[in-house]
């Protein structure tokens, strides 16, 4: 029995059916009739099928890794959350209905259900909210969700996870401060939680430290720059108690107890 949903061997085409905006974020929706349905926390390597390359600085060249945002049950649709931060994401954000993605996946190991009698508590920051949306769906909407955003341009990302409590760095929406402050007070009266987190490394490190101090299990979805997504390049390693592990095949979801720090270097450039 495999520990993951395995990907078809080789890249395939997926047609874009919609491009939705939520503040600064783009949700790219596509149909993938040939692929299996992913588990929450798994990811895909994406590139545009046409004109991938020749952008700013003659990039992008390599595909880019994205956690799946949503994979609605009973269909072939996949959704990805993209923020335009460089030549690869800029090209992906240009895609419109009718354009084609070249994709590989689903890849990696996703989230595992809460340990017995624990309640799922989802903590996301910025574009890292993506894998929490599909996990919220698969947990039947029962999880508590805490999300953090930088400012008013990013806060509309909260629309993607119904019922979420929000923190913003500039106070434009919800709690004025860090999402980890919401987590800290939530853990005061939710000791039987299992935390699922994805976001920027400083946020993940704060989540890891808070959960470790209170003996609350946590599963962290990590990001690391990667060339391939299937264990070939050895580029995406993060240090763990067992030495370096590849985020792409041994993660991206890694139990926080295996990490001395979630402050990993080299997440994108």
């Amino acid at each position: 029995m495999a520990d993951r949903v395995q990907a078809p061997f080789g890249t395939r085409r997926a047609r874009v059916i919609a491009h939705d905006r939520h503040g600064t974020y783009t949700v790219l929706r596509c149909v993938d009739p040939l692929g299996p349905r992913p588990q929450a926390g798994q990811f895909y390597m994406l590139r545009s099928a046409q004109r991938w390359g020749g952008g700013d600085g003659q990039r992008p060249y390599l595909p880019r890794a994205f956690s799946v945002l949503r994979a609605p049950a009973g269909g072939a649709e996949l959704q990805f959350l993209i923020e335009d931060v460089g030549p690869g994401t800029a090209r992906l954000c240009e895609l419109r209905a009718g354009d084609e993605l070249s994709l590989l996946g689903p890849l990696g190991i996703g989230f595992t259900p809460p340990r017995e009698r624990r309640r799922a508590l989802l903590v996301g920051g910025g574009v890292g909210i993506a894998p929490l949306a599909i996990w919220q769906d698969q947990l039947d909407g029962s999880a508590t969700v805490l999300l953090g955003f930088r400012d008013a341009a990013h806060a509309p990302g909260a629309e993607l996870l119904p019922g979420a409590r929000v923190a913003t760095d500039d106070g434009c929406a919800g709690h004025h401060g860090l999402v980890t402050e919401l987590l800290d007070s939530e853990l005061d009266h939710a000791r039987h939680a299992e935390v699922y987190a994805c976001g920027p490394p400083p946020m993940l490190e704060a989540v890891r430290a808070l959960c470790a101090a209170r003996d609350v299990p946590a599963q962290l979805a990590l990001e690391s720059g990667m060339a391939c997504g299937f264990g070939a390049c050895f580029g995406c390693v993060v240090p763990t108690t067992d030495g370096y592990v590849r985020v792409c095949v041994d993660g991206p979801v890694i139990d926080a107890s295996r990490l001395q720090t979630a402050l990993t270097s080299g997440a994108g450039h």
């Binding site: 061997f9 890249t11 390599l62 060339a227 070939a232 580029g235 995406c236 095949v249 270097s265 080299g266």
Partner: protein, 294 residues
């Protein structure tokens, strides 16, 4: 597909992988048995094995360059004993011949590795990674013809298996190194390894890669690889495994036109793990990228 004989090994087609660019064990976890039924390479070259285990370089290990990639991975591997115990049994089940790439920091280390694999029937051939310094002389083994000759003088008598010398492009006269390898008994040479490069963190101005410098690969190096393969093929008579930025059948045929017997695919497999199979089909049908005959 056109079968090809390489150093006495029958291969279904001329496309193999570059060492360190495909982990068949990890790919089996990601893709399951589909990897074996559609295996993209005519032979599998394993990642470099060293005598002792190596953790590899600290991250970040990757940097995208125009039309390519720079890496500073640092040859992480389980060491000879870990490889023999854990990796070799799995790799022996692949549907194609296995070529093991080895590297040592002294001639004695390389000799120990060659001896160990000489005794294993699962191994069809050995590739010697000489792109590292000899800690006894300080010279990068593959950058100096005399170093290569002395290394082969030690390891050639240890095995009847084909020995492929993986040449570094970071040498002042690559054909001279290839000639030294041929004269000292190498069965084949392979080139190019990655070209040394560097990137700075745009926010701090400090080196981006944990290993400070890295190796550049991908289409960015293809013209350089073609020139080096051309000059090496003109200098020696033993077979050449050519690589460097191959993305399609046309790129592969250009390297074969320059004299290569086999062509290895590396960075393109990162973009699509089945790229090797596509390129092999394009070589067979004289298609790929643009349709003019080379």
């Amino acid at each position: 597909m056109t079968p090809v004989t390489f150093c006495g090994i029958e291969l279904a087609h001329p496309i193999i992988n570059a060492s360190g660019t495909f982990d068949a064990i990890a790919a089996r976890r990601a893709f399951g048995d589909a990897l074996l039924t559609g295996f993209p390479f005519a032979a599998f070259v394993s990642k470099t094995v060293t005598l002792e285990p190596r953790e590899g370089n600290p991250p970040p290990r990757l940097w995208e360059v125009p039309a390519g990639l720079m890496n500073s991975i640092g040859l992480p591997n389980k060491g000879l004993h870990g490889y023999l115990a854990h990796d070799l049994p799995e790799l022996a089940r692949l549907p194609v011949p296995l070529i093991v790439n080895v590297m040592g920091f002294s001639r004695d280390e390389v000799a120990a590795l060659v001896s160990a694999f000489a005794a294993r029937d699962e191994v069809a051939a050995l590739e010697l990674n000489v792109s590292c310094p000899n800690v006894e002389t300080g010279m990068v083994m593959g950058a100096d013809p005399a170093e290569v000759a002395q290394l082969l003088g030690v390891v050639r008598p240890l095995t009847d298996k084909p020995l492929i010398v993986k040449l570094t492009p970071n040498a002042s006269d690559v054909p001279l190194v290839a000639l030294a390898a041929e004269a000292a008994g190498a069965d084949a040479v392979s080139l190019v390894n990655t070209l040394r490069g560097m990137a700075l963190d745009p926010r701090t101005g400090e080196p981006w890669l944990g290993g400070i410098t890295g190796g550049v690969s991908g289409p960015a190096v293809r013209a350089i690889a073609l020139a080096q393969v051309h000059s090496v093929c003109a200098a020696i008579r033993i077979p050449v495994v050519a690589m460097g930025g191959v993305t399609c059948g046309r790129d592969a045929r250009e390297l074969m036109r320059a004299g290569a017997t086999l062509v290895a695919v590396g960075t393109e497999s990162f973009r699509d793990p089945s790229a090797g199979a596509r390129i092999a089909a394009e070589v067979a049908t004289a298609t790929g990228c643009v349709s003019y005959p080379v």
